[in-house]
């Protein structure tokens, strides 16, 4: 496991910090989920490309919780299958409760994918999941351009000038999610 600096350098929570992984690994990790949920946030609106990636993941049958005002993008793209607006705080409040029925009424998720969410807000929600959604274990990964120590897996920090590489990683990720 490679060492990386949290995107917010002092965002060091404690002994348990998540790993860094390439898109293929995260993709196959997602593939292993029984009931995954894609949680997206406002940074998704930073570019059409990012929104399209979410939709592609959604099309693999993974439901989407659109937090912040990211729902706007889906409405504009007219992709609303399995997309639900949710406040991220409230959503995480549900996720931490094993008895929550989920967005579909069929029960809570075992795996969440954070994407396009403001770094520190995402980090806090990942911390909640890490510390409290343990029984049964909920796994959480981030596919943002940040290293997220509170996620089980995330990418490294990707600077703006590496934007193209990041897009490439997302493309690879989508391909490697098998469902």
């Amino acid at each position: 496991m490679v060492m990386e600096i949290p995107f917010d350098v002092a965002n060091i929570a404690g002994p348990e910090t998540g790993g860094i992984a390439p898109p293929e690994v995260i993709g196959s990790y997602i593939t292993s989920a029984k009931k995954p949920l894609l949680v997206v946030g406002s940074e998704l609106l930073w570019g059409d490309f990012f929104l399209d990636i979410a939709i592609e993941i959604g099309k693999k049958g993974i439901p989407i919780a659109a937090t912040g005002h990211s729902i706007k993008g889906f409405v504009e793209k007219e992709y609303m299958d399995n997309v639900t607006y949710y406040n991220l705080h409230e959503l995480t409040n549900c996720l931490r409760d094993p008895s929550w029925k989920g967005l579909d009424g069929g029960g809570n998720y075992d795996f969440v994918i954070f994407y396009g969410i403001l770094y520190y807000y995402a980090s806090q929600m990942l911390s909640c999941i890490k510390n409290f959604a343990t029984d049964p274990l909920m796994r959480a990964v981030s596919i943002d351009r940040y290293y997220h120590p509170n996620a089980r897996m995330s990418f490294t920090n990707i600077s703006p000038r590496m934007e193209e590489q990041y897009k490439d990683m997302l493309r690879k990720l989508v391909v490697s999610i098998k469902r």
């Binding site: 600096i5 002994p15 348990e16 406002s42 912040g68 607006y85 029925k101 911390s127 920090n157 600077s159």
Partner: protein, 796 residues
């Protein structure tokens, strides 16, 4: 001598040859209202109420740290809800840290109040009357509610503050290793602390209003308070400038008084940052508001001040270092923030001024407020001469050098709490386009962390300021000065519309400037709700920041909107301590409008407000421990608060689960029946990622189970409308709030009924335009919601 019992009537004729040394004379209190059940509640007194809240709004924790380091057994690793060496688990530990934050916040307010009281009693005596004019009968709603005391003079606040101090210390004890084991009890204690916080703020503001004759309901007060200049561009730097920073107004008031007495009003600029600035404008009409907290570093770096006077709270810890850099002497005026300076209280002003002007000392401490004015002003007059011609804004060449030096290493971004991409902006500036850098000015919270790590030693904050300087130096807004308490007469007018919901709600932007996207969002919040006829009551940094932005006609939100506590009003209530009057307004709705007894009756009033008063706080830039205790104080009183995304770092939120029917069952006080109701308010504390998300959220959090159908339809209109406007979609849960067709706005009723039929499968009687089946409950205009069994009128 006979033993005398405390509190008993005692007749003089019974005594012979006696001299009594009078300690404290308690006038027999007029029986203004019978005492309620919980005067001066202790830790466990209101615990039942707290547990009711905590059951519905179960504490949600997001640890910022997985370790505990509070004792030398530690650090303990609590990851995954493990136990530490003392046996505490992560959930309780988070509750403990929340209690700690609230403790620090509440102590700041209480200690400030106590400090004021000491100084004011010394200056004016104990008997300064508390009289806020003809329109304010309930002078101190929180004091009455919590303590059961109706204060007549500032001296009466002695016991109020003693009560608060005692309780704070009791609660601090609970933080010790080996006390509470239950997160619920930690939260109940935090809620208790929040209540004490609100009471402390009321005490502090009432004391200063009374002593300094700040605006009340006497002439020129209330809606008619004057406007004042806001912004870095409002200071005339050709004059000597005294800059005050902090929260405790007496030293600044003394500066104002000195200026007036010496005919220097127009010769010396008195500007301020943060709450001291707000309060200075309440006592000295020439004072100017330079900025809120977020720009403190930049204002100091810009070197506009010839003398900096600090009192307490929200002062940069490196203020001394910063002032030394710009050769501005500093005067510390409060024992809580002395910065290592030598205490020169009672020393000869000539000597002090001399030492400061000559630069022999970088600053002094003067702890007697009435000694500050002379020293500060005389020093400013002299220092100004020496500093003439000095500029601390980067030159064009320096600016160019710095932006060229940047190697885009990204360290600053990783250090920046907001992850701002400074390297990119520098690059672009080096290439000739300074806009990206200039744009950072408003988003940056001015913390300086970036500079701590830049290997190229680029003064990033100065670079950004330079880029934005052309606009910044023109920045001149207008703000209504702090008006203090809402009038009883105003409450009488709006009581019904508020409770019935025809005024859709009170929006209370409060507190600090740690905004995710800059100050403009504050103005958007104010504008959006004021235009929709909400009442917008501002305090603290948000009151200042929202005054920075103008519409096309060059008007700020204060100029666009009236200042009455009424539909569409935009009120600057005052400094942070003034936000107690927002509690006060809600309490008065229950007291003045609904006739509920207030004295020692916190639980009942909180229950009333929770179910009926559609108010919602927003601390969009919540940063400090005070913000934590303020929000928690709102929460105990039944008022929800929305925070910006940084608010998630407070570690705890209070959100309900609308899907848990058992949590949303209220009692109808009319007959004791249990009613499953719509989730209003759904949350007591929740963070939103963006302002676009926050706007509909706040509208939603103004919904209350007691809304009339007409009121509900208005609230729903705004909730849906704001969702459509900012999220491009209907809120997924709007149907939860529909009890009957009459809850739907007439204009869109058909459309909405259709959606209910199609999307929710509700049964609609299209002929009658009625909902036949679907809502979680039917609308019952006589529904009398409560959470308290004891308020049931007749048990069935």
């Amino acid at each position: 001598m006979e033993a005398l019992e405390r509190g008993r009537i005692f007749t003089i004729s019974d005594l012979q040859n006696v001299r009594i040394n009078i300690g404290e004379i308690i006038e027999e209190e007029e029986e203004w209202e019978p005492m309620g059940p919980h005067p001066m509640p202790r830790i466990a007194t209101l615990r039942d109420w707290d547990f009711k809240l905590l059951n519905r709004y179960k504490p949600f924790y997001a640890p910022l740290c997985d370790m505990c380091c509070l004792c030398t057994y530690g650090k303990c690793d609590l990851t995954g809800n493990k136990k530490g060496a003392c046996g505490i688990r992560m959930d309780a530990q988070q509750g403990r840290i929340v209690l700690l934050a609230c403790l620090i916040g509440c102590s700041a307010h209480c200690a400030h109040g106590r400090h004021l009281l000491h100084d004011m009693i010394k200056k004016f005596g104990r008997d300064v009357p508390i009289d806020f004019g003809p329109e304010v009968n309930i002078e101190a709603p929180l004091t009455r509610l919590v303590c059961g005391i109706k204060p007549k003079t500032i001296g009466d606040y002695d016991k109020v503050l003693s009560y608060v101090e005692e309780q704070i210390v009791q609660l601090a004890d609970a933080l010790h290793t080996g006390q509470e084991g239950s997160h619920l009890d930690f939260e109940s204690k935090a809620l208790h602390m929040g209540m004490l916080d609100s009471l402390s703020k009321e005490a502090a503001d009432i004391i200063q209003i009374a002593c300094y004759h700040m605006p009340t309901s006497y002439e020129g007060g209330g809606p008619d308070v004057p406007m004042v200049d806001v912004g870095m561009g409002t200071i005339d730097t050709t004059k000597p400038v005294v800059l005050v920073i902090g929260h405790n107004v007496p030293p600044a008031a003394d500066i104002g008084a000195y200026l007036t007495e010496n005919g220097l009003d127009d010769k010396v600029e008195l500007g301020g940052i943060c709450c001291t600035a707000i309060d200075t404008t309440r006592v000295y009409s020439k004072a100017k508001l330079v900025s809120a907290l977020g720009r403190q570093l930049r204002v100091l770096r810009a070197g506009i001040a010839d003398v900096v006077v600090i009192d307490e709270q929200c002062i940069r810890a490196d203020v001394l270092e910063l002032c030394q850099h710009t050769q501005s002497p500093i005067i510390a005026t409060n024992d809580k923030a002395m910065h290592g300076l030598v205490d020169r209280t009672d020393d000869d002003p000539d000597k002090i001024v001399n030492d400061l002007v000559s630069g022999r000392v970088p600053g002094v401490a003067i702890l007697e407020p009435d000694q500050v004015g002379e020293v500060a002003v005389r020093t400013a007059l002299e220092v100004d001469k020496k500093r003439k011609g000095l500029s601390y804004i980067l030159s064009d060449d320096e600016f160019k050098c710095y932006v060229n030096d940047c190697i885009q290493c990204g360290s600053c971004t990783l250090a920046c709490p907001n992850g701002l991409r400074i390297g990119e902006a520098n690059k672009s500036a080096a290439a000739g386009n300074i806009k990206p850098l200039a744009d950072l000015f408003d988003i940056c919270v001015g913390c300086g962390r970036c500079e701590q790590v830049c290997k190229k030693h680029i003064p990033i904050v100065d670079v950004v300021t330079k880029a934005a300087y052309p606009e910044v130096k023109e920045e001149k807004g207008r703000m209504r000065i702090g008006r203090g308490p809402v009038w009883d007469s105003e409450i009488r007018e709006v009581g019904a519309p508020l409770v019935l919901g025809t005024i859709p709600g009170i929006i209370a932007p409060i507190g600090c400037g740690n905004y995710p996207n800059g100050t403009k969002e504050v103005q958007l919040i104010v504008k959006e709700f004021a235009e929709r006829n909400y009442i917008v009551t501002l305090t603290g940094c948000m009151a200042i920041d929202s005054a920075l932005w103008k519409d096309e006609e060059g008007k700020t939100v204060y100029e666009q909107h009236h200042g009455r506590f009424d539909a569409g009003g935009v009120l600057n209530i005052g400094s942070c301590v003034s936000n107690a009057h927002i509690h006060g307004a809600a309490i008065k709705v229950a007291g003045v409008f609904a006739g509920r007894p207030l004295r020692g009756n916190y639980e009942e009033i909180a229950d009333y407000i929770l179910s009926r008063v559609g108010a919602c706080g927003v601390a969009w830039g919540a940063m400090s421990q005070k913000a934590a205790s303020i929000a928690t104080g709102f929460n105990r009183l039944g008022i929800p608060a929305v925070v910006g995304p940084h608010g998630a770092k407070y570690r705890r939120a209070f959100m309900s689960r609308p899907d848990r029917k058992e949590d949303w069952t209220l009692i109808d006080a009319t007959d004791g029946s249990k009613v499953y109701v719509e989730p209003g308010p759904q949350d007591l504390l929740v963070a939103c990622e963006t302002v676009e998300e926050a706007l509909p959220m706040m509208a939603k959090l103004c919904i209350r189970p007691s809304d009339t159908d007409r009121g509900r339809s208005i609230k729903l209109t705004h909730y849906i409308d704001l969702s459509l406007k900012y999220l491009n979609t209907y809120p997924p849960d709007w149907h939860l709030f529909v009890r009957a067709a009459s809850d739907l706005p007439i204009a869109t009723r058909n459309e909405l009924l259709k959606k209910l039929e199609e999307e929710q499968g509700w049964k609609i009687d299209w002929k009658m335009k009625k909902i036949v089946e679907g809502p979680i409950r039917a609308y019952n205009p006589s529904f009398n919601p409560t959470n308290l069994e004891r308020l049931i009128r007749r048990k069935k």
